[in-house]
């Protein structure tokens, strides 16, 4: 399941919704991305996430489908926020459920790597110096590429 929303998300509630009363899940992995006040943007006041409604949902669904094709998952969830976010706030949530931990870990890592390079979101950082669009990172392309080689 995928969701694009302005509101915050509740990880515990999302995990519960994904597992329900099932007893065939052995491993649950969650990834939460937070707004980080890092050294490259000192004094980050806020970040605004712009996205491409329609294409965002389409790409996230494709990425989730691909993860489910590659790994044996009993469930998966991707939630991505947009709009204005402050340091420490939650941006993105990925949850993967599987019988085995290897599948859950790899699928979650894959989902994040693909989402970083394929989902149409753009970050505008606001600091004391003004506003700057965040540059894409070469490392993110590299992180995505490692899934192609396999």
């Amino acid at each position: 399941m995928i969701r694009v929303q302005r509101e915050d998300f509740d990880i515990a509630a999302e995990m519960k919704a994904l597992t329900g009363a099932r007893t065939d899940i052995g491993a649950l992995v969650t990834f939460t991305g937070l707004v980080r006040d890092d050294s490259s943007a000192p004094g980050l006041k806020a970040m605004t996430l712009e996205h491409y409604p329609g294409m965002t949902e389409k790409k996230l669904s494709e990425i989730e489908d691909e993860a489910n094709r590659r790994w044996d998952l009993t469930g998966s969830l991707v939630v991505h926020r947009y709009g204005r976010l402050e340091p420490g706030e939650q941006i993105v949530l990925v949850i993967t459920a599987s019988s085995h931990r290897g599948d859950a870990f790899e699928a979650a890592s894959f989902l994040m790597d693909w989402l970083k390079t394929e989902a149409p979101f753009w970050k505008l950082e606001k600091t004391g110096d003004g506003e700057t669009w965040v540059d894409a990172k070469v490392e993110d392309e590299d992180a995505k590429d490692r899934w192609q080689k396999e």
């Binding site: 491409y52 970083k116 394929e118 149409p120 753009w122 970050k123 990172k137």
Partner: protein, 83 residues
């Protein structure tokens, strides 16, 4: 066709979207970029660095050599930075 602009392309062009009738001689995305660039400084500034501009046709990533038609939704934006 429907044109969409995001992030700093949107800011430089001053529009988030607009309608355009496929101009004569525009076959590919590259032709469209050339056409738009000639429309004014905002467009010229948005498209001045080709490597920094990504394009999607009907919500799928595309190449500048791909063809465009009058019924397409064509979006221009910088490399994505979500997650």
């Amino acid at each position: 066709m429907k044109l969409l602009y995001f992030a700093w392309l949107r800011e430089r062009i001053g529009l988030s979207e607009e309608e355009l009738s496929l101009p004569d001689g525009v076959i590919t995305v590259q032709d469209l970029i050339t056409h738009l660039t000639a429309r004014g400084d905002g467009y010229a500034s948005a498209f001045c660095e080709p490597a920094a501009v990504k394009v999607a046709i009907n919500q799928d990533f595309a190449k500048v050599t791909d063809p465009v038609t009058d019924s397409d939704e064509v979006a221009f934006f910088p490399p994505v930075t979500g997650g």
